[in-house]
């Protein structure tokens, strides 16, 4: 029960943080490099024993609400679905099956900083790369796009680490 409540809070909290805080940040000319999308954190941090079906439904609703706010109907949704589906692939490409307990949330405190950075780094980078590619819908100027995805990933990771230290209580 408490777990469900926490999940609901994370769900809406992440949307609010994404839309009213991160999207509102202004770095002048370099703004496009520092506008990470962190809503995928909700999907990525889910316990390992969550079924893929549930994960996909969460991803669809989360992406859909974010898309309505950002006027990019279907863009976040499609990529969030892909990330949700490929989550086990990403996770087990950096660690073996037995390393991680099945009934804990995947945060920086439970899986350790190295694995956190690797796992979340890979998934969020793929997210951004696909997002910018689908948004632009061409391979024009790919190097700039790649750099944009990379810097956005790094800034997103920094923000997520910060967020977890603030919002999650350590035991």
């Amino acid at each position: 029960m408490i777990f469900e409540l926490k999940n609901i809070l994370w769900f809406f909290g992440l949307i609010i943080i994404q839309i009213f805080f991160i999207d509102a940040l202004d770095f002048g000319t370099y703004s496009s490099f520092f506008s990470p999308i962190i809503i995928s954190f909700f999907i990525l941090k889910m316990k390992l024993d969550t079924t893929i079906l549930r994960l996909l439904v969460y991803a669809f609703v989360l992406g859909f609400i974010t898309d309505i706010f950002r006027n990019t109907l279907g863009l976040n949704t499609s990529i969030l679905l892909l990330v949700a589906f490929l989550k086990p692939t990403f996770l087990f490409s950096i660690s073996s099956n037995e390393d991680i307990e099945k009934d804990v949330e995947l945060t920086i405190f439970t899986i350790g900083i190295t694995r956190f950075l690797l796992f979340f780094g890979i998934s969020i980078f793929i997210y951004h790369l696909l997002f910018f590619l689908l948004e632009q819908f061409s391979f024009y100027n790919f190097s700039a796009l790649f750099l944009r995805a990379l810097i956005n990933t790094i800034s997103g990771l920094i923000f997520l680490v910060f967020l977890q230290y603030v919002l999650i209580f350590k035991r």
């Binding site: 703004s31 079906l53 990019t72 949704t77 949700a84 948004e135 796009l145």
Partner: protein, 276 residues
């Protein structure tokens, strides 16, 4: 039959993923082509727009000082107009007795409550909608120059397609030589401070810091409103045209006030535009 059911059961995760992905991609591509079908699924719907307006209520306090400066400047300009009986449009003074011009356009002041300027398809939201008489394809000008064109209208809010959107198109004039050009905002090469003007003939005498203004050809904006000034000029030998980069006069990261341009004789003009 049994085998098919077994197959579906085995791959149900993947099939579910595929169907959801298909729905989202369908939404993505159909929303790009025919935007009007999804009026309720955009940020100018009442729920998201009212949340944005609450955010604007909070954050606008931090910008009060700057907004105040702009307002004071604008006030001074308006006083100038009243006393001199001139109508100021961009950087150009027009005579008060210019009756066609006066009847032609009406201005309604609006507040920009949300501005997205660092993405691919950027947009603005303003706090007036169809209740205030705003319709699609009306122009929006800021305190310094052109902001964009109304794209989507709900009862109390509207979405604006700004200059800094790849789908925005407008005919512009070079102020000094009256040459016609077309505006292009290319997201991979431009940021929210600059924009390209293309299709200007190569022999045109354009120099840096020249102004480009609206032509008034489509009837969306009055002619003579500033768009920006020239940053760099590049010759395109193949097409015998100039590629000009403009610095946009209006700063999209902090534009807060604007004026909707209502053209009273737009329908009449449209008839002529169709005849050609």
């Amino acid at each position: 039959m049994k085998n098919i059911i077994f197959l579906i059961q085995k791959y149900r995760n993947f099939l579910f993923f595929l169907s959801l992905e298909f729905i989202s991609l369908f939404l993505l591509f159909s929303s790009r082509n025919s935007y009007h079908h999804y009026n309720y699924l955009t940020s100018s719907n009442s729920i998201s727009a009212s949340l944005y307006s609450a955010q604007n209520n909070m954050t606008s306090y931090f910008l009060l000082k700057e907004t105040n400066d702009i307002l004071m400047k604008e006030n001074a300009d308006l006083k100038n107009q009243v006393y001199n009986k001139d109508i100021i449009v961009g950087r150009k003074y027009l005579k008060f007795e210019d009756t066609i011009y006066k009847k032609n356009f009406l201005f309604k002041e609006v507040k920009v409550i949300n501005s997205k300027f660092k993405y691919y398809e950027n947009y603005l939201i303003i706090n007036s909608g169809s209740n205030s008489g705003i319709k699609e394809k009306m122009g929006l000008i800021g305190s310094k120059g052109v902001l964009g064109v109304v794209k989507n209208v709900s009862k109390n809010f509207s979405t604006i397609r700004p200059l800094i959107n790849p789908n925005f198109g407008l005919k512009v004039l070079h102020k000094k030589t009256n040459s016609w050009g077309d505006l292009f905002w290319i997201p991979e090469e431009n940021n929210f401070r600059n924009i390209f003007v293309k299709n200007i003939p190569i022999y045109t005498d354009v120099s840096e810091k020249d102004y480009f203004i609206t032509s008034g050809a489509e009837g969306i904006f009055p002619s003579g409103i500033t768009i920006g000034k020239v940053l760099t000029i590049k010759k395109n030998i193949e097409d015998q045209t100039l590629d000009i980069k403009l610095e946009i006069e209006e700063d999209f990261s902090n534009s807060k006030i604007g004026f909707i341009v209502m053209n009273n004789i737009k329908e009449e003009l449209n008839q002529h535009l169709q005849i050609k």
